[in-house]
Amino acid sequence: MNANLAERWAELPDLLAGHVLLSLSAILVGLTLSLPLGIYAASRPRLAGLVLNLASIVQTIPGLALLALMVPLLGGTIGYAPAFLALMLYSILPILRNTIVGLQGVDPVVRDAARGIGMTAREQLWRVELPLALPVIVAGLRTAVVWVVGAATLATPVGASSLGNYIFAGLQTRNWLSVLFGCLFAAGLAIILDQMIRLLEVAARERRSRLAGLVGLALAVLLTVTIAPRFVDFGPAGRNAREAGEVARMARLSDTTIRVGAKAFTEQYILGALLEDRLAGAGGRVERRDNLGSSIAFDALRSGEIDVYVDYSGTIWATVMNRPEPVNRHAMLAEMTGWLWAEHGILALGSLGFENAYGFAMARESAEALGVASLADLAPLAAELTVGGDAEVFSRPEWVMTRDSYGLSAMQTRAMDATFMYGAVRDGQVDLISAYTTDGRIAAFDLVVLDDPLAVLPPYDAVVLLSPGAAANPALVDVLASLIGTIDDDAMREANRRVDLDRQTPAQAAAWLAGRIGPEGAAQ
């Protein structure tokens, strides 16, 4: 637990900096756009209606979806840019709405008086209308701050690091301390910023310059302390000293920055850590991009935003190549490799040696009680059964084909986070789940994976994918090639189990895997 806490603290400066930088820049730009627009629209009722409707539409898009949509909109760019854009759009509505409502709410008698005593339009705005609308506008700004600081935790899957990394990674690895860290710091940040804005407004209204100065100072300190780690890199110095000897010995990748991507589940974190370990060992500078959404990871690789990550042949086959028909494992691997290279210049380096397939698992006890051993046995029982799966699975071709081929359309489906599925089927909350076959909990919870006699479910070999840019770097290809064929199903399952059940960190599990594989070259 202490190691966990120490690791979480160590992550804090970077994640907090990312979070503050992302949300504040989004709010600042949102404010500079929406305030003038609101002022301009307030006296033009038709325009006001139009912009408010547009902004409301943006607001009805769920935060996560809006963030994810920005990635294809920006041509596959991941990281700061799409997250910034989505959050900025998100901040517009409350500020815009309150600016318009606040200005329109100024008493017409007061407005007439301002004109009648001879104020210019500008003087009316600055001396009368804006000061009177200020409390309403500030309320909008505070809403925007709370929303954006909260929604910035959703920037994690599009590859922008934020306090959401704690939450996403924690959820996947059942590391509740990590989830708690993310929630507490995000909520704390929102509350502090909200209160600071409130105090600034009080100071402005009551003309208390000392209070304004104090709050301004506190804000400046908060910003400096949180953002500084982004610009002053403390980390590498220490790390370099420690690893100096190693680096000198095999500095084949020196001065190359390699961005390693990972999707948002345990196995991916472990493999990400393993890749990092290998690359850093060869002298490379590694940046991790964890928690990428499934299709976002591929887009990011294609556009060169990340250099390498591990994906699964069946996933590429179905969701990227859009091939509905299953083929045998080796044919799929060969065809996929050729297709990726020809279409995108992406190098599929080879299989790591294990397969992480989608399978359907039941608790052994209930499978035996129902006399079920294969998917083909389920059809007569389908109406009484409930199948659980992550949000993604029910819209994927694998489920559609399984359902149609085995006649399971009467079955109830229940989407839940992958973390909770295994416990849910063990405890009988659902009868069946779509399990990942390398998950450590299959053995630990005494689940059985049902046979697939019609061979509907495609194979899922874990393959190392390199972006076109990375594929052109022979040293990099060389280092990673040493991992091909080194991890079998049992090894991966054990590594997953260590994280999911023994509460080890992904880095610890990766170290165990690395030890098992042996040093670079040993496996060859």
């Binding site: 008493d107 008698v109 007061v110 007439d112 008086a113 301002a114 004109r115 009648g116 005593i117 001879g118 104020m119 210019t120 003087e123 001396r127 009368v128 000061p131 009177l132 209204r205």
Partner: protein, 259 residues
Amino acid sequence: MIEHAPAVLDVRDVRKTYAGDVEAVRGVSLSVARGRLLVLAGASGCGKTSLLKMINRLEETSGGSILFGGEDIDGMDPVALRRRIGWVMQGDGLFPHMSVRRNVGLIPQLAGQDPARVELRVREMLELVRLDPDEFGERLPAELSGGQRQRVGFARALAGEPELVLMDEPFSALDPITRDGLQQDFRALQAELGFAAVMVTHDMAEALIMAHEVAVMREGQLVQRGTPRELMASPVDDYVTGLLETPRRQVQAIAELGR
């Protein structure tokens, strides 16, 4: 027509037609000289406010012309024009977020006077309307009584040394005693400072008590103009007689109490 001095304000055959063919003012002519108070009276909706708003160009005329200090206001910058004309409205129209001091000092400040002079002017104005600057200066409008607010409204209108003051029912929201005191004070102020004034009122008694001259409007037109005495002596038609009926009856009723 009684002309004591050259007219500060000269309204010539002015018309106002609002969108939708509402003819609010249909050819009104009048003039007001320095130090004089003209009261506009008449039933609700007869165009009093519309006429007043055309004088400081809060509304544009649809016909006729208005001369201010001998110059056609059409050729003047509306903001510059309004700064030379005091504006007092019903229910004070003070800025709720500004202290009494800032409300009163606003016009001189906008005119670019230096702070020391503005401050001096504020004190002078507040004393003029019989409010202690030290006691009331830092208060917000919400911390004043209705009568005090209206006094601040006058002080603000007069701070710019206007040649003309326009007032739309300035006393209508006040209780009779406060109203009486303010009416007297206003006449005294006018006598002291010598500005010309146009006041709109519903209250015929108020018109008769305060005005140098009363102009009675009906459906956008002027039906009679004269001193209060002339009006009482010879109302031109039943409409004017009807308007005078209420004050007349009140006076009689009170006189009978005394017998």
